[in-house]
Amino acid sequence: MDRHTIFDMVVKNVAEVVPDLAGHDFQLTDSLVELGVDSVERSEIVIMTLENMNLNIPAVQVFGPKNLGELADLLHAKALAL
């Protein structure tokens, strides 16, 4: 699974959790905080993406990314490490 596929998964989950953002043209540099996504919504997006990837790791292990590109990169690295 490459990083673009993961990025697309994240974007799909953002749109599902925050329907208001469904029409947004997401970029790798987009920050969920700056898009107005709150902390509860952000945690759901992370956990749903882990589920989509069948990545069975603690969610705290994917804490830290500042934008969607960094999140996709970290998820990609975690998947490779397993």
């Binding site: 107005g36 919504e41 759901e44 956990i47 589920e51």
Partner: protein, 432 residues
């Protein structure tokens, strides 16, 4: 087998509060994000209140309702707090004194962020269940305050942490543990615990808090799933959807519990969105009844949720409540117990909702003034005299009507308190 559980429970949700929508507007926080907190009010600690006064004011109605013989069987007093006032001396010693308890009593304090209340609770349950002193009772008091030091507006608005101010409350929950558990009977052996080291939220200096909302939320969610998973291993046939009639979760703010419930229902119960929303209203929302009016009171929050469930839920037969406790740092536990209509009747005598109704609503100017002056009683204060009557006089009227314990003086670090119905001398007008 000896029963061990909660014989009496009471909440002290402060003397004053502020409206959190008003606070959010005052701090120029995003109104949409703020609504997602599911918070209405938060209790605010006044300068003459501290974890001791909160603890005593929560426990006193319980102790007063006991006969002298029953009171003398309280052989363990555990204070559970992350708002300690001394690194060595336990605040349970002050609480023991002002409650007038038997000196043949174990006094100690436990700390583990918001898990402290559960650490004390389970210790007391085990003390009674083990029958090492048959007939003895234990008093467990989770008591915490949040004194936000004067912050400038820029700091108050800083990123995510700004949302901690509207949700941080002050309050205490007292529970009498014994062999006649009319309020809550824990299912023996039915618990799963899960903990590990993580730096999510903390109090690195005596009067400040810091943390990362994202990390704390992810850790809470990890722990909820793992602690429940361990519970389910120990209790065969457990089903997250059907085993528990109600769920009482540690509630930093209601929106977080809503998110955790949604995640658990989706991942563990494989439920769809519509079912999840209806389940939240039915099983979880009663537990938010008091939490949304007091704020996050740390160690006692999960028991504030339990009190809300007992008082507000609609049940006519014994029901099982699933309880999830989480404390940053971290440790967590999922356990369960039974309440029945008699529990609601007994808890109703404490009139918790009425006590919250009686609090004084602070204006934003009064609230900011309290923050600005909070350094007067900061950790490590050697000497201070509190002019109780001069600080927000209308709040003092509330405390006087309740006969609340207040802090009057600190002399060489020793704290002195008095009950307001004992007619405290006003500063500068001492009796000749």
């Amino acid at each position: 087998m000896t029963l061990a559980g909660v014989e009496a429970l009471n909440v002290f949700g402060g003397t004053a509060y502020c409206d959190v929508a008003e606070l959010a507007t005052h701090r120029e926080l995003d109104p949409k994000r703020f609504e997602n907190l599911l918070m209405a009010q938060k209790s605010v600690v006044l300068p003459y209140e501290d974890p001791v006064t909160f603890a005593v004011n929560a426990a006193k109605p319980i102790v007063d309702a006991l006969s002298p013989a029953e009171r003398d069987r309280i052989e363990m007093l555990v204070t559970c707090t992350e708002s300690g006032i001394d690194f060595g001396k336990s605040l349970s010693t002050y609480v023991h004194h002002y409650l007038g308890l038997n000196r043949n009593c174990r006094l100690f304090e436990v700390k583990n962020a918001c898990y402290a209340g559960t650490a004390g609770f389970q210790t007391a349950i085990n003390f009674v269940a083990a029958q090492s002193s048959p007939g003895a009772k234990a008093l467990v008091i989770a008591t915490d305050i949040s004194r936000f030091m004067a912050v400038d507006v820029a700091e108050a608005q800083e990123a995510e942490w700004a949302y901690a101010e509207p949700s941080s409350g002050s309050g205490a929950v007292a529970m009498l543990i014994g062999e006649n558990p009319v309020i809550f009977t824990p299912d023996r052996g039915a618990h799963g615990y899960y903990g590990y080291e993580v730096m999510d939220t903390c109090r690195p200096t005596p009067d400040s808090e810091m943390g990362d909302a994202d990390l704390s939320l992810l850790s809470y969610l990890d722990c909820c799933e793992q602690a429940f998973g361990e519970y389910a291993k120990r209790v065969p046939q457990t089903n997250f959807r059907d085993t528990f009639d109600y769920l009482a979760f540690h509630t930093p703010f209601g929106g977080m519990v809503k998110g955790a419930h949604r995640t658990m229902m989706r991942r563990v119960a494989r439920a769809k969105r519509d079912e999840i929303d209806a389940d939240f209203e039915r099983r979880v929302a009663p537990g938010l009844t008091y939490c949304r009016r007091v704020g996050n009171i740390m160690g006692g929050t999960v028991y504030l949720a339990l009190a809300g469930t007992i008082d507000a839920a609609d049940y006519r037969v014994p029901v099982r409540v699933g309880v999830f406790s989480y404390g940053s740092g971290c440790c967590s536990e999922f356990f369960s117990g039974v309440v029945n209509p008699g529990s609601r009747e007994a808890l109703g005598r404490m009139a918790i909702g009425t006590g919250l109704d009686q609090r004084y609503r602070l204006s934003m100017a009064e609230y900011d003034q309290i923050l600005a002056n909070s350094g007067q009683v900061r950790f490590g204060t050697r000497d201070a005299v509190l002019d109780v009557q001069a600080i927000v006089p209308r709040a003092v009227e509330v405390a006087t009507a309740k006969g609340s314990l207040v802090l009057t003086r600190i002399t060489a670090y020793h704290r002195e308190y008095g009950f307001l119905n004992e007619t405290l001398p006003a500063q500068g007008s001492r009796n000749p």
